[in-house]
Amino acid sequence: MKRSFSSTAAAACLSIAALSGSLTAAAQDTIKVGVLHSLSGTMAISETTLKDTMLMLIDEQNKKGGLLGKQLEAVVVDPASDWPLFAEKARDLLEKDKVAAVFGCWTSVSRKSVLPVFEELNGLLFYPVQYEGEESSKNVFYTGAAPNQQAVPAVDYLMNDIGVERWVLAGTDYVYPRTTNKILEAYLKAKGVAEEDIMINYTPFGHSDWQSIVADIKKFGSEGKKTAVVSTINGDANVPFYKELGNQGVSAEDIPVVAFSVGEEELSGLDTGPLVGHLAAWNYFMSVDSEINDEFITAWQGYIGSEDRVTNDPMEAHFIGFNMWVKAVEKAGTTDPTAVQDAIIGVSVPNLTGGWATMMPNHHITKPVLIGEIQADGQFETVWETPGLVVGDAWSDYLDGSKDLMADWMMPLSCGNYNVKTGKCSGQNM
């Protein structure tokens, strides 16, 4: 039997589970797993890949003998990039299909839309994308990065290793860039960066004429101090942005751009020649040299039937989230959501970069932070990584409203936003 990307210990557990499974009479029925990703509409670009990842993971698990002696069954629904529809589909999954857990959502607004449903029906949601933080729910497990696992370390790298003194915070005009930039601005000022050395710029969705903004950045960066751009520019608008940078001769050596939403999947749609050397901060890169990553890539490309398909960070988040759920269910001996919520805290599974991911009491996980430079072949070359693992922080330490808040879902606290100063749990996200 070929063992794919799992530690020996986990595999041993599984073979025992498989053994007992084959003996149990109840092997007939299945455990249902919900997959809530848009397969049509604007977000289909990113989310379809995650649906396929989930199907592959469930398939692999079934080949290993399933879970608790039962086979897993994927229930795939299409919320069509329509936020209210996300809530409806989530309700269907939990009430009609009685799924044991749901893996899904991409945008923050879709997560906010399903949140009340999961809290009302006590479901489990594994959310795989980097987000702006400021949330912790009893029913949601955040396997993507919080700002302190992506944005803040990236700024640290630029400041300490590259010696950047002037900052351009460029973003698309919506909630994730605005919150992230607010955190970063507060962080930079706390580090002693002067007001006139920070330039903040917002552009509309799908902005395509970057001439004057790039010219401004060039001017801002030519005044003798090392300058970098921290980009929270969303999806599509990145292509004309990087093209304009290339055409106006702004190279990564002069003014590096570090992006938080440009990954392998996004790069596969464009000519990376002029982008070489620009940076991205993630917790996983396809180019990471580890045995478990090689196995994952081989399995993925085999499953999807193409050697050109890439892997990316949210896929790794699903890989981690799924394995954590499997382990927690085995530990609890049941798929009951409350039992799994208790069992999953403290569960550790291998990540794809050769380390371990642990579920923390605030429902965020530990991750390494990697900074990579874009290469001509559309891959990232890791140039820096955090020495250890970083614990995801639900409430930012740099914002006034949230620095006194903490999340801890273990008894006796069991609260998503406990105010350490007033000693009260405010009740939001309960």
Binding site: N201, G206, S208, D236, G249, E253, L270, G355
Partner: protein, 549 residues
């Protein structure tokens, strides 16, 4: 804390491996040195260091290669810069890899021998970072100072401005004596002046300041600003001030020219997108909400043609122009014959029907090409910029599109004014009944006019494919802007569309630095609404009987 363990262990083994290989370096160096020159030793050291994982060691490797002065070192550094240098995982052999073809072409670095093709994951790329890239470029710049092409030498000199140290300055002085090209000489003299700004001799410093008068290089300006704040010599201070003021004035002037160019180029995109609509909406009076999707079809045509001829990017873009015209034009005629002709005189129904068509076209593209954006390559002659000086450079793709916009406009103008089709189009649009009485087949003219307008939209799509994403949503971004330009310019007037598009572009670009991209767009929109209140027929209202009708 058992979790930290694997990480620690892997670190340790890595460190050990590096130590071991490092220990081997001098040994290899010495055994080779007995047989070969010091150059060879540098080269060998460089090769081994390049394969290390730590960037600091790779940097030493680059220096060793640069010192060796070997011709192989140069091609090695270039391959490293271009990401073509790989290590074979099985035996650690360094190879050049060409990934462009279907099969990898693998070449032994040392022997130049072609090797058996293997899978990409069996190779490990020698990765570099920005610091290394700067170092490699500096190393290559010293090679380039003796290049026969003066343009290459000029780039090399300007490259060195940011990293001037006594050593490179000395080297530049050496090259200056033998330099024959006047532009390169000037650049070298400026570089030496720049280095002299920090000289101890006050006379030398003053001469350097005066020598840099009017120089627009950012490094020069920064050097002068630094000198201004640090110097306490009044005579020098006055000279620096005067030179700096002169430089700032010139920078401002060129900044103005740059903004005008940005505005014109944004305007040319608006005109290209709108000019097809000026025909269908302006001349025929059809509100075509699918106009944006016709632009999108033109962009996808470019993509398909480029897939058909992957080795001739430039030619494929040129061929795409007539092809996109035909594809979008035919789809336009199909829409006119199939839907719009039943709805003439009922603008609201036309609007809804064409909006439906736009959704159908978008979804069709999603199903055929996938919802992912497609990448259209830009030909070499359209990338980069025309550098006028170090503060003003005109990006080539925008420059070509500006020219292209004028070409399309003139062609369309000639068709309408000089051909019999144009005559019939104008006749039908001015007075349909009379035109029919004169023997014009108005149905055929309608179809051809709509086809012409749609075809021009397709051509605009080719231009847009060079600027922005080619995806199913491409058209939506331009439909509002197009209507805005046509209404502002005056319905039914081509000149109006041209002037309106260009002036809106320039106005937008002058507002943008002051108000930000979002607010600038809003302000322009508000201005147009106010303007239409005052002059409901736009900048250039159509005169005559048709206008009243």
């Amino acid at each position: 804390m058992h979790r930290v363990f694997p990480l620690l262990v892997s670190r340790l083994t890595m460190g050990l491996a590096i130590l071991l290989t490092l220990a081997c370096v001098p040994v290899v160096g010495m055994t080779e040195a007995t047989a070969a020159s010091a150059t060879e030793a540098d080269l060998q050291t460089g090769l081994i260091l390049l394969k290390q994982k730590r960037f600091a060691q790779k940097a030493e490797g680059v220096d060793a290669l640069a010192n060796s002065g070997d011709t192989l070192a140069r091609s090695l550094l270039e391959a490293l810069l271009n990401g073509r240098l790989f290590e074979r995982k099985s035996d650690g052999l360094l190879v050049f890899v060409d990934t462009r073809g279907a099969e990898l072409r693998i070449e032994d670095v040392l022997t130049g021998e072609m090797l058996e093709p293997i899978k990409k994951r069996q190779l490990r790329k020698i990765g570099i970072n920005n610091a290394l890239r700067t170092r490699i470029r500096a190393a290559l710049a010293t090679f380039d100072l003796s290049d026969p092409d003066p343009a290459v030498r000029l780039v090399a000199v300007n490259q060195m401005l940011d990293t001037l140290d006594p050593e490179t300055t000395e080297r530049l002085r050496g090259y200056l004596a033998s330099e024959s090209d006047p532009t390169v000489r000037d650049a070298m003299i400026s570089a030496i002046h720049l280095a002299n700004l920090s000289a101890d001799d006050p006379a030398l410093r003053l001469a350097a300041v005066e020598g840099l008068s009017g120089n627009l290089q950012p490094a020069v300006r920064n050097g002068l600003v630094a000198l201004q704040s640090s110097s306490d010599d009044p005579e020098l201070g006055a000279a620096v001030n005067e030179v700096l003021n002169g430089i700032d004035l010139r920078i401002q002037l060129y900044g103005l020219a740059e903004t005008v160019f940005f505005g014109l180029s944004l305007g040319s995109v608006l005109v290209l997108a709108a000019i097809g609509l000026a025909i269908t909406f302006g001349v025929m009076g059809v509100i075509n909400m699918a106009h944006g999707e016709l632009i999108m079809l033109g962009a996808y045509t470019t993509y398909v043609i480029q897939q058909l001829m992957p080795n001739a990017v430039g030619l494929s873009v040129l061929i795409s122009i007539p092809a996109a015209f035909l594809v979008a034009g035919l789809v336009g005629i199909l829409i006119e014959r199939g839907v719009i002709r039943f709805l003439y005189g009922r603008p609201l129904e036309t609007l809804l029907a064409t909006f439906g068509i736009s959704l159908i076209l978008q979804q069709a593209v999603r199903s055929i090409f996938s919802p992912l954006n497609r990448s259209v390559a830009t030909p070499d002659w359209m990338s980069g910029s025309l550098e006028i000086n170090s503060v003003l450079s005109l990006t080539l793709n925008r420059l070509y599109i500006l020219l292209f916009c004028f070409l399309v406009f003139s062609a369309l103008y000639l068709i309408l004014k000089r051909t019999s089709l144009g005559l019939q189009v104008r006749a039908v649009s001015q007075n349909r009944a009379m035109a029919r009485a004169m023997g014009v087949r108005s149905a055929r003219v309608d179809a051809l006019t709509f086809g012409l307008g749609s075809g021009i939209a397709g051509v605009a799509g080719v231009a847009l494919s060079q600027l922005t994403n080619v995806g199913p949503n491409l058209g939506q971004a331009y439909i509002i802007d197009s209507f805005m330009v046509v209404v502002f310019g005056g319905v039914g007037n081509l000149w109006g569309t041209l002037v309106a598009g260009l002036s809106l572009g320039v106005a937008n670009k002058f507002l943008e630095p002051w108000a930000g991209a979002v607010l600038a767009k809003i302000l322009v929109l508000v201005f147009i609404i106010l303007f239409i209140q005052k002059r409901p027929r736009g900048l250039f209202p159509q005169k005559g009987r048709a206008a009243e009708g």
